[in-house]
Assembly symmetry: C2
């Protein structure tokens, strides 16, 4: 135990801000960090890439499932993944925290530690934020990034004949979520994958430099997110089912829980894998594996057929 | 009436996103708007200014006090003011919306209209965002801006002898808040000032070009925010009480409600006026008026004395 409970209400907004900012260190792109009206971040090629995600307690995280530091890692990862999915290098995070006044200050500090540690993996840092009391614990993260002169990789550039490729794990976080929701805490591999997604950050900019024609962060589930590429590019996508190996621990967990592991793999979000399309003669860069092809038409199929029951999440559903 | 009630739960996340993005138009700095993993915004001099604010229903706005379009104006204004207080020109907003599933889609659309209209006042636009269901209606706004090669105006540059100056109205929004909290809807001047602050956007970059040594957006109240400049600059600030004229409608409202109008003026936030310091021989630029001086020492005084009972807000208090 690290001292007694100290609530946000007792510390106050400014007290909390100074406690949290004292834990942050500036990354190389941070020209002015927390403490003024706004932060200033390098945008070396005259453009900045920016994305916002909100995480709401009970919907995107649970305090009894994840420690605050894990929630910080996850919140940062979700946003940083959006930046690398454009082919950019993340530079900075801004964080809005809405929290019940009774929340332990320690929780907010640990959250900041998780956000900062995840950002540091890619050389980025937390440069600013805001805090407010709220009945609902909510974390709003904005990530910024720098393309360093490269063209962004959009969702709309896939062409029939391209190879569809994947970087990073898929299905692990969804499996971990199911495990936790059934009241279990193991297998650790799956539960930890949910708590702290391992985003293949380097694979995004690498794909951009290797000529990827389209790219997306897999957050809604692979079929749903490839569907976004298919729609934006006006093409179809066909996946090879044998490209998706179910690891033993996931197979065992699925068996024990009576779940379909391919639903985790094909429709589960939250691993923040990256999916991209490459011209068929392009050697896939490190970390990428082929999982299918872009075809004429529309929609996403597996071995030529619609995959039943496998769609992504709708956050108001 | 514009058709019946359609809840967010019925429209779904993607339905709402497409309805909302259809209402947005791209400003000149928007290189890639909503619809991909991230937006891309011009940052012409290789730096981007960024600030985040969260607004929580019941704390920062009330749906029975403000129409959705007003909440949008206010949410945008609070953030855009932070950007101009650095001396930068706002370029873009990213908006995270957390809303109860039963919320009318129309409310979210009107909110987007207000955000977009306020951003358009400074040539900025809404370039991205995220949405989630939540029990607590919450709006997280990140604003980006461009210094166009100018040095940012920080809180830390005030020097003894500088003139303290103010741009924009102060006390109006706090007065409007008090009026609304007592159940009244008039005077309109004050209530509208609370609903849609009139931020002196042009005054920020103008102050920067005119040699302002420090600047801040007045969001916590003038005394509190000048206190931030005094602390960051290691100086004192003394205001002249006769520089703060209480307009007749504010005086009448204060009289009717038994309130002290100087408390609204000196300690009320939410008008998003700008306060800055200028070298004493600098002619004040258009829109700025002198209200006091920077002195050796610390803290903020009025006619040489501490103003009793007048501090800013603490958002966890």
């Amino acid at each position: 135990m690290r001292g007694g409970h100290m609530s946000l209400a007792r510390t106050g907004e400014f007290g909390l801000i100074s406690r949290v900012t004292a834990r942050l260190s500036a990354g190389p792109a941070c020209l002015l960090g927390p403490g003024d009206d706004a932060a200033i971040v390098a945008a070396s090629d005259g453009r900045v890439v920016a994305s916002t995600d909100v995480l709401v307690e009970g919907r995107h995280f649970r305090r009894d499932w994840s420690a605050a530091v894990d929630v910080g890692h996850r919140a940062a990862a979700a946003n940083l993944a959006d930046i690398v999915a454009m082919g950019a290098i993340p530079t900075a995070l801004l964080v809005g925290l809405c929290a019940p006044p009774g929340l332990d200050v320690r929780w907010a500090e640990d959250l900041a530690d998780g956000l900062a540690a995840e950002a540091a993996k890619v050389g980025a840092s937390v440069v600013g934020g805001d805090m407010s009391a709220s009945p609902t614990l909510t974390i709003a993260v904005t990530a910024l990034g720098d393309l360093h002169g490269a063209a962004p990789v959009l969702r709309s550039g896939a062409r029939a004949g391209d190879v569809v490729a994947l970087a990073g794990r898929i299905g692990y976080a969804a499996a971990g979520y199911t495990v936790l929701s059934r009241g279990f805490r193991t297998p650790k591999l799956l539960v930890e994958a949910y708590r702290r997604p391992e985003v293949p950050y380097a694979a995004g900019p690498l794909a951009a430099r290797s000529g990827a024609t389209a790219m997306i962060d897999v957050s809604d589930g692979l079929l749903a997110d490839l569907g976004h590429i298919a729609t934006a590019s006006r093409v179809g996508i066909d996946l090879r089912r044998d490209a998706f190996e179910v690891p033993p621990q996931m197979r065992d967990a699925a068996h024990a829980l009576g779940a379909d592991p391919y639903l985790w793999v094909l429709a589960g979000g939250d691993d923040h894998a990256l999916a991209a399309t490459f011209p068929e003669d392009t050697p896939l860069p490190e970390g990428w594996r082929a999982v299918g092809h872009v075809i004429e038409g529309s929609g996403v199929t597996v071995n030529g057929r619609a995959h039943k029951g496998a769609s992504g999440w709708d956050h108001f559903g």
